[in-house]
């Protein structure tokens, strides 16, 4: 049988379009030569080049050719299909063609950008085009599957990013589940006193949003809870959430805090997590006064009843609403959502990893986060900057880039440290009148009003010494250094080494991925970048999407970010989620597997291989049957089928064999 006999409209008529991508491709690949080569390939009716194929005129050119030359197959050789495959498939659709008669050739990411020699790059491009021509001949018309989406959204993480995303979606009328691991939402921002560069009070701008979350009819807030399982796919995720027992019935507690007063421990004596151990709490406690929900919890690690079973349990009597429940068990909730936003935040760099800075060795070396609590009016010292021995520091050194811009720890710049160091310098100087020294490598203040804030600090007389500190020591050489911490640094702008004695050292620790980012990533089936932050689909064009459809990112879980950027990204993630669920359905790539019934021998090999239980066995006909609604298109069954009965749309054996021959026939 000849090709034109198989194909009713006279056999394949292929158009090949090679993109210059400005100079991105044309700067390396001889595009003209590739086009001329394409013209020699079988079934190719037209071959053209253009500066930007993805632009309107480029698309129009293809549409016109389809009409004029009755093309029924199109190949575009340009960038990665992950970027523009959808664009060009749409072009075919617009010209009245089935969009799957299309094949994209990646001659930018896989050729021009990675090949040294222009000659070799051109040859490689030709080989890939040849392969695509062979492949596309065997393409078939396919229909996209439409699947309805659940219109609920899960937001994981209740920091400022998660809060903002949840509120945005809830205001748009969508139901949101907000899951937070800690007993309260608020995240890192709740720990801050002021925010840069405006010196807004963090609590003043955050707590209204926290209460709004608690009060919103469209938000189900689950604090002290963790996502433990995620199944399904875009539009139809099934999620299990573990709600840890707080031993207080949330619905009954009104936050009067009388139980805390009544606790048999008269004094707070356990290190308080929210204040990073700088303050103390009782076994029954609330993390901080504006905690949301305003519900107490009991820490079984420190509560006498849990430890010994012997306690008067005065808290029980103190609670008029009988909200305390020592028998409370953890609960597993199951929800179905159409989209998921991850806003799991960051952790700060562990300063102990740089022993030369003396954190954990010298009591007057603090991390910046600890100092945030010290300067916070609601913090353990009531906002007074006092050292552990009660003294007010007269000289303070702030060391930038702790754990950042360092090949041994994190190579990246943490972006927020310069600005928060300026803020802390200002607050410390304001509260204590101390001489404050900033030790920086480069000042990074790109942001609205940031440079102006730096200027203000310069004028306030804060010292800025350009140099990375090698060591903090208590080794005094001169009398004025006695009893102080000495910071040894090269003042690089002057070119001399200086020793600067201070009373207090603040380490501007960088931002790192959460310690369990790797497990979270696996649970949600997304990727991490090298440094361990969640990976966005495209750094510029899809900055809040992931490679898994329906899962979006917001805030510092994607990379170090300040509050304005986190909020902006949270808004963007909410909009993406909204766009997805508001449509009511998603279209899935038609790359499912199917069984050619007459070939199936009923060996059942495929059935056990399918991770989604999409294949069942028809006992009557003794053949395998694939439920295309459940199939996700991995093709594992296809590769395993001994009789060739299992096949996969878009990745047919014939297509791939042609591609293999194509890349090899022309080298």
């Amino acid at each position: 049988m000849r090709a034109h006999e198989i194909y009713p409209n006279g056999g394949p008529r292929i158009g090949v379009y090679v993109c210059h991508c400005g100079l991105n491709i044309a700067g390396k690949v001889d595009v003209h030569e590739v086009v001329e080569f394409a013209k020699t390939l079988p079934f190719v009716v037209v071959a053209r080049e253009y500066k930007f194929m993805c632009s309107d005129p480029g698309q129009e050119m293809i549409r016109e050719d389809i009409r004029e030359h009755r093309l029924n197959r199109v190949i575009v050789a340009s960038c990665s299909p992950l970027l523009h495959e959808a664009t060009f498939r749409r072009v075919l659709e617009q010209a009245g063609q089935n969009p799957f008669f299309f094949q994209m050739v990646n001659i930018r990411e896989h050729v021009s950008w990675v090949t040294e020699d222009p000659r070799e790059a051109t040859e490689k491009a030709k080989a890939l085009v040849a392969a695509a021509v062979r492949r596309v001949i065997f393409h078939e018309p396919l229909q996209r599957r439409r699947v309805p989406v659940k219109d609920h959204v899960l937001v994981v993480g209740g920091g400022i990013a998660g809060i903002h995303a949840a509120l945005t979606l809830a205001d748009a009328g969508k139901h949101v589940y907000l899951v937070e691991r800690e007993p309260t939402i608020g995240g890192h921002m709740a720990m801050f006193d002021k925010t840069f560069p405006t010196l807004d009070c963090a609590a003043c701008i955050l707590t209204p949003k926290m209460s709004a979350v608690a009060a919103h009819p469209n938000i189900t807030l689950w604090t002290y809870s963790e996502v433990i399982q995620v199944e399904g796919f875009v539009g139809n995720f099934r999620v299990r959430v573990r709600r840890k027992p707080r031993y207080v019935i949330e619905e009954l507690c009104v936050g009067c805090l009388q139980c805390i007063d009544a606790c048999v421990y008269k004094d707070a004596r356990f290190p308080d997590e929210f204040n990073l151990g700088l303050g103390k709490r009782k076994p029954i406690y609330i993390p901080f006064p504006q905690a949301t929900p305003r519900v107490v919890l009991i820490d079984p690690e420190t509560c006498i009843w849990f430890k010994t079973g012997k306690c008067k349990r005065t808290c029980l009597e103190a609670c008029e609403r009988k909200a305390i429940d020592f028998e409370q068990q953890e609960r597993i909730e199951e929800i179905e959502v159409g989209a998921i936003i991850l806003a799991t935040g960051f952790k700060t760099f562990d300063a102990r990893r740089i022993p030369e800075y003396g954190y954990g060795k010298y009591p007057n070396v603090y991390t910046a986060l600890e100092v945030e609590r010290l300067v916070n009016a609601a913090g353990p010292t009531g906002g007074e900057v006092r050292l552990r021995d009660g003294r007010v520091p007269k000289r303070v050194g702030i060391i930038h880039c702790v754990g950042s811009r360092d090949e041994r720890f994190n190579r990246y710049c943490s972006r927020v440290c310069c600005m928060y160091s300026l803020k802390l310098a200002h607050l410390i100087k304001e509260r204590t009148g101390a001489e404050v020294y900033n030790f920086y490598i480069d000042m990074r203040t790109p942001g609205k009003g940031y440079e102006e804030f730096y200027d203000r600090l310069l004028q306030e007389g804060v010292h800025f010494i350009r140099g990375r500190v090698a060591e903090v020591t208590d080794w005094a050489i001169t009398p004025e250094e006695e009893g102080k911490l000495i910071i040894r640094v090269e003042d690089t702008l002057i070119g001399v080494v200086r020793r600067i004695p201070v009373d207090m050292v603040v380490l501007a620790v960088g931002l790192e991925p959460q310690p369990d980012a790797e497990e979270v990533r696996r649970m949600f089936n997304i990727s991490c970048s090298k440094e361990g932050f969640f990976l966005e689909r495209h750094p510029k064009l899809a900055p809040v999407s992931t490679f898994t459809d329906g899962i979006f990112l917001a805030g510092a879980c994607q990379g170090p970010k300040d509050i304005p950027d986190s909020v902006a990204q949270a808004g963007a993630a909410a909009a993406e989620a909204l766009a997805l669920i508001d449509k009511g359905y998603v279209e899935l790539e038609p790359n499912t597997a199917y069984i050619v019934e007459e070939l199936c021998s009923g060996c059942k090999t495929c059935i056990s291989l399918c991770p989604y239980n999409a294949i069942s066995f028809d006992e009557v006909r003794a053949i395998a049957v694939i439920n295309e609604a459940l199939c996700k298109g991995c093709g594992t069954c296809v590769a395993a089928c001994p009789s060739g009965a299992a096949r996969q749309h878009l990745f047919e054996d014939a297509q791939i064999f042609q591609e293999i021959e194509g890349v090899l026939a022309y080298v």
């Binding site: 896989h110 991995c634 749309h649």
Partner: protein, 169 residues
């Protein structure tokens, strides 16, 4: 159109077919491009949705049609987008190695690598290393290789039922 020169005419340039999974390794190769990490031009990447789609026949076909080496790239164990397709790929890879040995093909000509979406540098490293390995092994001498494109139009396999049913526009 340039015909592949006879071996010995100029230094041997290995021909390598790479099967990369859509979610990890193919994306990593895109990242290598975005980061302009140049590597040996000998690698020809074919995209599959999952390394689990890799039919052992693909590898054999590649060798039959003139590949000197075949590279398989998938997600790291535990990271498969489809849960465990990569484990299936691993099994088939091990089987293939034995098969190749039986056929007198050096088993180093087949390589499996786990490369995650963020490991662009690993694509570069593996591509270069593998090209060097194959260069050292020299050309794979099997049946005569096709030089120019000879599309076997007369022998086009039957299209799938969908195409036959006249769904074509």
């Amino acid at each position: 159109m340039s015909e592949r020169p006879m071996e010995g005419e100029r230094s041997f340039e290995p021909r390598i077919v790479a099967f990369f999974c859509n979610w990890c390794t193919y994306t990593a190769a895109d990242l290598a491009g975005t980061a302009r990490m140049t590597y040996a031009p000998n690698i020809r990447i074919i995209r599959l949705m999952c390394s689990g789609r890799l039919d052992p026949q693909f590898v054999l076909a590649a060798f039959r049609h003139g590949a000197d080496g075949v590279l398989i790239g998938g997600c790291h164990p535990g990271d498969c987008h489809y849960q465990e397709g990569n484990y299936k790929a691993l099994r088939r890879y091990l089987l293939l190695k034995r098969l190749l040995r039986e056929m007198g093909i050096e088993e180093e000509r087949l390589r499996l690598e786990w490369i995650s979406a963020s490991e662009g540098d690993r694509v570069q490293k593996v591509a270069n290393e593998f090209t060097e390995t194959i260069r050292r092994l020299g050309p794979l001498r099997l049946a005569p290789r096709p030089g120019v494109i000879r599309l076997p139009v007369a022998a086009l396999p039957e299209p799938s039922p969908a195409a036959r049913e006249g769904a074509l526009p």
